[in-house]
Symmetry: C2
DNA sequence: CCTATGTATTGACAGACGTGAGTTCAATAG
DNA sequence: CTATTGAACTCACGTCTGTCAATACATAGG
């Protein structure tokens, strides 16, 4: 048995009182947090949030050519935002002839929505 | 009455059929979309989402010194994330002596949560 | 006063983001 | 085949983001 090291800091808590209740944190959260943050990040742009809003209001599928004029943006930029939403799993797309139709995948928002409530 | 201009594009819709129902979009959405996108953007990082999660689970206020060890990040980085959450209006802070305590402002999430549901 | 401790800020950096101009790709009409 | 049209991709740009090291700030104890 050795003596206690004298070099150890004398007082980490000035008055000996803890600053607050200890917070323990189950590691299980990590993966879920990353999934939900992906959703939140995709919704973290006003244009994309409005795109999702329009798509949700029209339960059916909406053509890109109808989406572009709603925003004061170039068609490539709107396409870019739609791609982001697709990569986040929030929307899906379908091609019919020349036109591409987008729609919201409702289940993609469920987990995040439930956590937020 | 004049004759129709010959220079006008002959067919905008190849088969004369519209690509989809017209989508009209009330301008009222803009401001709300920006507010909600601000919230979503702040939640669009796994660390910040976990911070909010921890703060919400502990209904009371939590000291920064308890938050830092939960994440494999430097103290300044955690402080930076907390600042982002504060700027988005999601959390508030209070100083007691040396320590700073953070807490979630529940109302801040209401509008976004309601829209998402 | 001086020292120690908890928190916030600054500076720097690589990487990601939002945007438009220009281009390419895919599919239809002729 | 060619021409046209809707959508996606590429490149470039300035801006913003997440991170840490170092520093500054604020409060408490001696």
């Amino acid at each position: 048995m050795t003596v206690d090291l004298e070099l150890a800091p004398k007082t980490k808590r000035p008055a000996g009182e803890p600053c607050c209740e200890p917070v323990v944190y189950p590691d299980v959260e990590r993966e879920q947090a990353e999934r939900m943050a992906t959703i939140a990040k995709a919704l973290g742009d006003p244009i994309r949030l409005q795109l999702v809003d329009v798509l949700r209001k029209h339960a059916g599928k909406v053509c890109v050519c109808e989406l572009v004029p709603l925003f004061d943006l170039s068609q490539p930029t709107v396409s870019h935002h739609l791609k982001k939403l697709r990569e986040a799993g929030i929307v899906g797309s379908e091609r019919r002839g020349l036109w591409a139709y987008y729609y919201v995948i409702p289940e993609s928002l469920e987990e995040f929505s439930a956590w937020l409530t």
